[in-house]
Symmetry: C2
Subunit: 198 residues, 2 copies
């Protein structure tokens, strides 16, 4: 069947974002990733940097240090700022689903749009070796080893997803399709997703 919305969740360094962008281009769908950040910033008043970091990684139970560091302890309505941002994002993504055909990267979109039957959910992952090699090639060396950077990001995304959805990030049952981009290849992943959703 043809799907109006494709959500792509991905492990850091798996190429999930590049895959999602290419799928959107092939299908002629709108693509929301950084574009989503900019639009949410414009409409919510949150800064783009805050949305980029807090809007995908924070909000979990152990975020006291993060909250202190970002001053996100409370937004005045009893919710932490990260929770307020989540609620704003949630509504924004719900509305996006009404607007037209699109590919959305991350931000629990698969969960937020779970009641729609025209939404196809994809998870992209790959081995630590493949991802470590890829992030060094793309983003260069850092003080922390690529393995540590990957483990940190994975943990943050997992905690964020669990906190807001009560689901386990990367559990196959939450997605229609999960692909190991290292074994299958980025181009082949693009082919498969496009073929299944067009």
């Amino acid at each position: 069947m043809s799907y109006n919305i494709v959500t792509v969740s991905r492990q850091f360094g798996s190429g999930g974002r590049s895959i999602a962008k290419a799928v959107a281009e092939r299908l002629g769908y709108e693509y929301y990733d950084n574009e989503l950040v900019c639009q949410i910033a414009k409409e919510s008043g949150f800064s783009e940097d805050f949305i980029r970091e807090a809007g995908e990684y924070a909000g979990y139970k152990s975020s006291l240090l993060f909250s202190l560091a970002t001053g996100s302890m409370s937004s005045g309505n009893g919710m932490s700022t990260t929770d307020s941002l989540y609620v704003f994002q949630h509504n924004f993504i719900k509305e996006l689903g009404e607007k037209g055909k699109c590919v959305i990267v991350g931000r629990c979109a698969d969960y937020i749009l779970k009641d729609r039957d025209d939404c196809f959910n994809v998870f992209i992952h790959a081995s630590m070796d493949f991802r470590a090699d890829r992030i060094v090639r793309l983003y260069g060396e850092r003080e922390d080893s690529p393995e540590k950077r990957l483990a940190d990001k994975d943990k943050k995304r997992m905690n964020y997803y669990k906190h807001y959805t009560y689901r386990r990030w990367g559990d196959a049952s939450n997605y229609h399709l999960c692909l190991d981009s290292g074994a299958i290849g980025i181009d082949k992943c693009i082919d498969i997703i496009t073929d299944l959703t067009k």
Copy 2:
């Protein structure tokens, strides 16, 4: 790349077994599911019924009642009979991997053969509704509701897998490909797996 071995793990009622069988036929590979049970029975001395049940569902920590019921408390070498069967199965599947091209269903084969780079691991799942409808159609009504039968089988497979592999059954990272057979369709699943492994 071409893979010599395809392992298929699957939720009960998802059609994973039918998919695996069709993939083996298309690829011209040996197919091991019930065939595996017969061969293990022949070589190990365990009965086929015991292997069919205990060899996929038992062995987990809370299996005292099961052990009492099946008389599998100890096989005389300090291991429970289910653990002994697992060890036999483990070695049998390792050897199978050396023999030639094949498709293997269940029995932790993905984990047992994890050090081979010519082994492609697939997980097939589907929604409760799709599976409930399918098992009633295929196996008829039972005293327990189809939802209860599915939940019981899922839990047993998950416990068995966790007990012997220390991994989480159905976690996307353990497989190269995970497919929702209800959303994607049985035939399309066969096409995708065949295309990626041939």
